[in-house]
Structures are given as structure tokens and as C-alpha cells.
Amino acid sequence: MNELRSILFAEDNPNDVELTLAAFSEHNLANQVFVVSDGEEALDYLFHRGRFKQRANGNPAVVLLDLKMPKVDGLEVLRIIKQDEKLKSIPVVMLTSSREESDLIQSYQLGVNAYVVKPVGFESFMDAVKQLGAFWALYNEPPPGSLQTGR
């Protein structure tokens, strides 16, 4: 693991955040996860705005988005990412409770890279998050030159 692969995780619910991080930590991925609590923060992070003005350059290996978030929701964040020349190559995964067809359709139309419905059962949930983290943060090759360099 030469490069530091980071995960941007946008989720407003602290319980979900805790459970998800618990799942990531089982795979020793927790340290690489950067958590924001709404869509606006996620965009600030990606665009180096607000409190992320000073953050190091480079993009996360994957962005995990909850659909329903205060201020700017997941779909809007997805749309902005996929319309931005510099950001559109970042893999975006929807991690959500919604199984609604309209959400699925919209997400894929906007160019989402994966859509994962959070299982209710804890074991399935752990399983899903672990696999998700492992796949995007470990196995998937990100676009060249997009990653952060050091911290």
C-alpha cells in the first residue's frame, strides 16, 4: 500500500456513521475514512472550500453518499461531482436506506458508480460495508493522479 487511499463518507446520522465506521474498522480501513455530516460539507471538501480550504490536494479514492442529508442531498452532490471536469472521474457510491426505484434511476442517470442499499440486519450490513470498503479502497484502481499525497 504505497499511497494513502482515503474515503469521503457523507452521512448525517451519527448512529449510521458509528456503525459504518465500526464495520470499516473490522477491515482496518477506519483511519482512512473522512466523515462529513451533510452534502454541503462534502462539496466544501471536494472543492477546497470553507473549513477545507487548507486541506491537501488530491481526491478521495471513493465518495460514499447518503441520499437524504440536510442542506444539499446526496443526489445533488452526485450531480455536481459528475458535472465537474476535475471531479467526475472520482468513483461515487450511494450508501442508502432507500430502495426506491426513482432514486435508483436518478442515481444511475447522474452517473453513479455503485448503489448499495444498507441491509437492516447488522451482519449483512457489516458484510456489505466491509466489502464496499475493501473493493473501492483496496482493489479498485483509481484514475491516475487523482489521489491525495500525504497528510
Binding site: 448512529n15 449510521d16 456503525l19 437524504k68 436506506s97 432507500s98 426506491e100 426505484e101 437492516v120 457489516m126
Partner: protein, 631 residues
Amino acid sequence: MPLRDIPIQRKLMVIILLTSGAVLLLTCVSFFTYEFLTFRQTMVRQASTIGKIVADNSTAALAFQNTDDAKEILNALKAEPHIVAAGLYDKAGKLFSKYPANLPDAAFPDAPAADGYRFGRSQLDGFQPVAQGDKRVGTLYLKTDLGALYERFRLYGLIVVLVIAVSFLLAYTLSTVLQKQISRPILALAETAKAVSERHDYSVRTTKLGRDELGLLTDAFNQMLEQIHEQNQTLRQNEIQLQTIIENLGEGLVVSNLEGQLLHFNRAALKLHGFASLEEWRRHLAEFATIFELSTIDGAILPLDQWPLARILRGEQLQDLEVRIRRIGSDWRRIFSYGGVLVRNAAGQATIAVVTMSDITERKRAEEQVRQLNRDLEQRVIQRTAQLEAANAELESFSYSVSHDLRAPLRHIDGFAELLRKHAEPVIDEKGRRYMKTISDSAKRLGQLIDELLVFSRMGRSELRLVDLDHDALVADVIREGGFQKNTTIDWRIASLPRVHADPVLLRQVWFNLIDNAVKYSGKSPTPRIEIGCRVGPATGEHEFFVRDNGAGFDMQYADKLFGVFQRLHSVAEFEGNGIGLANVRRIVQRHGGRTWAEGRVGEGAVFYFSLPAIKPASLPVDATLNPIPT
């Protein structure tokens, strides 16, 4: 008066009398002539016989110039009264002796003429030679009076006249009687014909008097009259019928001649125009136009040449021409629907024009009302649709919230219970672990219920994709793909099903749920049997599909609850399930315009029905035979 013009009775009489008169006359003249000639010959013969005798007797007297003998001989002629004079001439032609003696010589010819007998004006003169051997001694002169002749012929004449007179009388009498045989039937015919032609009475009949040609003629005439009478009556009957029909038509009917002169208004037409008397309408179209004004429905005033009758007179055939009519100078306004056509005779020539009209003012008003109502209704539909759409959107957002927000806490309950279990592993006892597990299980179960509720809600909202689908294949697929055939103890009885117009995905769901239920609830029966079929609803004509099992059944008093969401008649321990399947079935069938219902009896099985509106009623087999499913 020429013969051809005099009455037939007299004509016949004249003909008969003339014919018989001519015949009689000819007969009499012939007879008369014959008699005349014969009598003259007889007179000549008698005179010459007497002459010869007297001449012979006088030979001596002449030869001897004996006057006394001569006188005596001539006196013998007294016996013949017709001989009025006789004279003997000597050889020299000199009167020698005369008879009667006292007659003057001047009464005798001066000298004898040539021999022979010749008729004079009133006498027969005869000169007879008197000879002695070959020697002529003198000449005898005999003068015979023609009185006898004339007397006779007077008599004849009298007889002829009498005969002719009697004949005429007889002929007249006979003909008077006989000519009636001919003239009477003819006169009767003539009289009848006169009656017919003068009084137009075709009911009179001529009496038949015989079976001759005149009888035939009478028969033929009567028959002709009969036919005419019948035809007249039929015509009259038709006319009355037609008149009655026309007068009682609800539709107004106006008849005009080809010049636009109005000839007839039926009752309805009078009423429609508000006329009370003939004078008001017996006019020319042009005059009519001074009373009324016609305009189109949109209000454009029609010039006279665009009036319905004017157009009909130009040969147009009108139908349902809607026109506004207004009485000039009053507030009388109606809307009429006009029709009409030119009436033509058998030769195709136009004879009259017929215009029909009906008052559609009320209808128009009603139509306008209906249109207004429709507009209102449409408006209301738009409003309601908007409301409904808003409600739907709300529902959607609600179910979205349910899907997203309700599941999150569940996940947390389960997640944290698990984390707690791991965290407290060393200190928690068996009982504590069981509690933990119950918390987890309940959360999962609630998660499942929410998922199914969401499916149910989506079922009601997703768009229907109706296609004409093969029902048999669909049901066979459901059974195969659902793995229901694995249970080999089930006796399947599947009838051929009609094609339907339905959403294939949703209908598959219906069949899956119903078959799944049947398999589930008959599972505890020793010989499970499932029947699938279709019948035509006797009242509705709809296709009624059913799935029948011989399983656990249900109590009919709960039949209505079966199709409710989360309604169950059995415990989960008895038969697993979550009570949403039949609710889905009902929702899908309702969206197709059909109905769902069930029949059952505890321990004896259940039948679940759903109906779909028929698309092709003929496609349903009358007697659906039950086929076992091929294995």
C-alpha cells in the same frame, strides 16, 4: 241530321225500315213489271187471235164486197167489250165496214198502217191482213181499249201499296220490339258511362241482358268499372292514410310548388310557425320572407336564396340543416332543423318541393347545458386530478420517508444490539444473549414488513403496461419458476385459460401469490389438490379466474379480512407469511378493473377468485377441461 248522329234506337229502326222497304219495293217493282209485260203480251195474243178469226170470216165479205156480211161479222165483236172499234179496209185501203156502225169515220185511221199490233197511248191498234189464199183482199183494223190493263194495274198498285203499308207497319212493330235486344244493353251501357263520366260515380253497374257479344261487353265494362272502383278506393285509402300520417307527424311538413308558392302546411308546421289560419301561410316564399328572418346558428342572416326551400328548389337534398328563425317585429325566436327534397314523378320530373322541420330549440339549449356541464366537469376533473396528484405525491414522499427513515433506526437497533453483544460478551449470560437475539430478530422482521409495505405501495403507483398475454404459459411459468412442482404430492388440475389484456409482471405476481397460498395452505392435507381454472361471470360476462385448494380453508365470516394489509387468519407459527400477499393481489386486480373474492370452509379448503374484464368473450372455452400439469 246525318244517320250517324241520330240515336241508336232510331238508327236501328231506320235501318230496318229502309232495308225492308227497299226489299219490298224492289219485289213489287219486279212483279209489277213482269205482270205488265205478261199482260200486254196476253192482250196482243188475244187481239191477234180475235183478229185472225174475224179476218178469216171477213174474207168472203170483202171479196164480194158484201157490206151486210161484213157488218154482221164485225158486230159479233160485241162479245168482246174491250174491242172498242173495228174496221175492214178493202184492197185499196178504203174503209169498207166499221164497228160500231154509229162511230164516225174520223175515229178510224184514214188508211191501214203496216200489219201488226202496236200500243198507243190508251189503246192497242192492230192491223190484220185479210187474205184469200195467197191473195190479199183487205185489212182488218182492231182497236182494243187498254182500260182492262189500267184497271188491273190500279188494282195491283193498290195491293202493292197495301202490302208495303202493312209490311212497314209489321216491320216497325217487329223492329220496335226486336231492336230493343240490341239497343237496350247499348243504351244501358251508354247511360252508365254517362253516369260515370258526369258524376264520377264508379260504383254504378250495368245490368247484363244476355250472353251475346253485348253481354260480354257489359261484363267487361262492369269489370273495368269494378277495377277502377277498387283502384279508386285504394288510392283514396292511401291518400287518407298519407294525409293522416302527414297531419299527425311530429315533424313540420310544408309543401310548395316549383315556383315557391306554399301549398300545404301540416298541423305540426302550423304550430311550429305559430299560425292559426290558412291566410297566414298561403303565400309565396318571397312573402313569407317578409314575416320571418332566418339566420345560421352563428347568427349570420340568410339571404332568401339560401333559405332551405330555395335550396331545395334548386335541387339540393337537405338534412339536419340547423337554422335560427325569428318572426320579424316580435321576440319569437326558435331554432329549426330543416330537411327536404324535390318530389319527382315517374318520369323523373320535379313536381313539388317538400320541406320538413322540427323545433330543436330545447335540444340545442340542453346540448349547450350539457356542454357547459362537461366544461364544468372537465374543470372539476382537472382540479380533482391535481388534488389526486398532490395526494399521490404526498403519499410518495411519505413512502419515501418510510423507506428511508424508518429503516435507519431499525438498522441501528440491530447494529447496536450486535455491537452490545460483542462488547458485553464476557459478562452477559445466556438469558441476556436471548434478549439480544429477540431484539435483533424483531428489528429484522420489522425491516421485512416495511420492505413489503413499500412493495405494496409501489404496486399501486407504478404504471400499468397492458399487453395481450398467453395466460396458460404465464401460469405454467409461475408454477415452474416458483418451484411449486417440487412438492410431488400435489394433484394439479389446470384448465386452459383465455388470453387476457394485462400487465405481465403484475399478473405474474397475482398468480404467484395465489398459487403460493394454495400450496402453503394445502401443505398439511394428506392428498393436496390444487385446481386452476376460469369461468364466465353469469351477470358480468367477465372472466373469473380461480385457484382452489383442499387445504386449511377459512371461516367465511372473515372472508373480507383476507385481502386486507397485514390481515391474517392463521398464526405465523401455523403457516408462515406476513399478510401482504392477498392485499397485493387485490390491489393489482383492482388496477386492472377486476374484483377479488374468496370462498372457503374451515378444514375443507378455499377458492380464491379474481375477475378481469373480458376482451374477447368468444375466446373462452365453454367447457374448460381440466388438464393435469405436465411433469
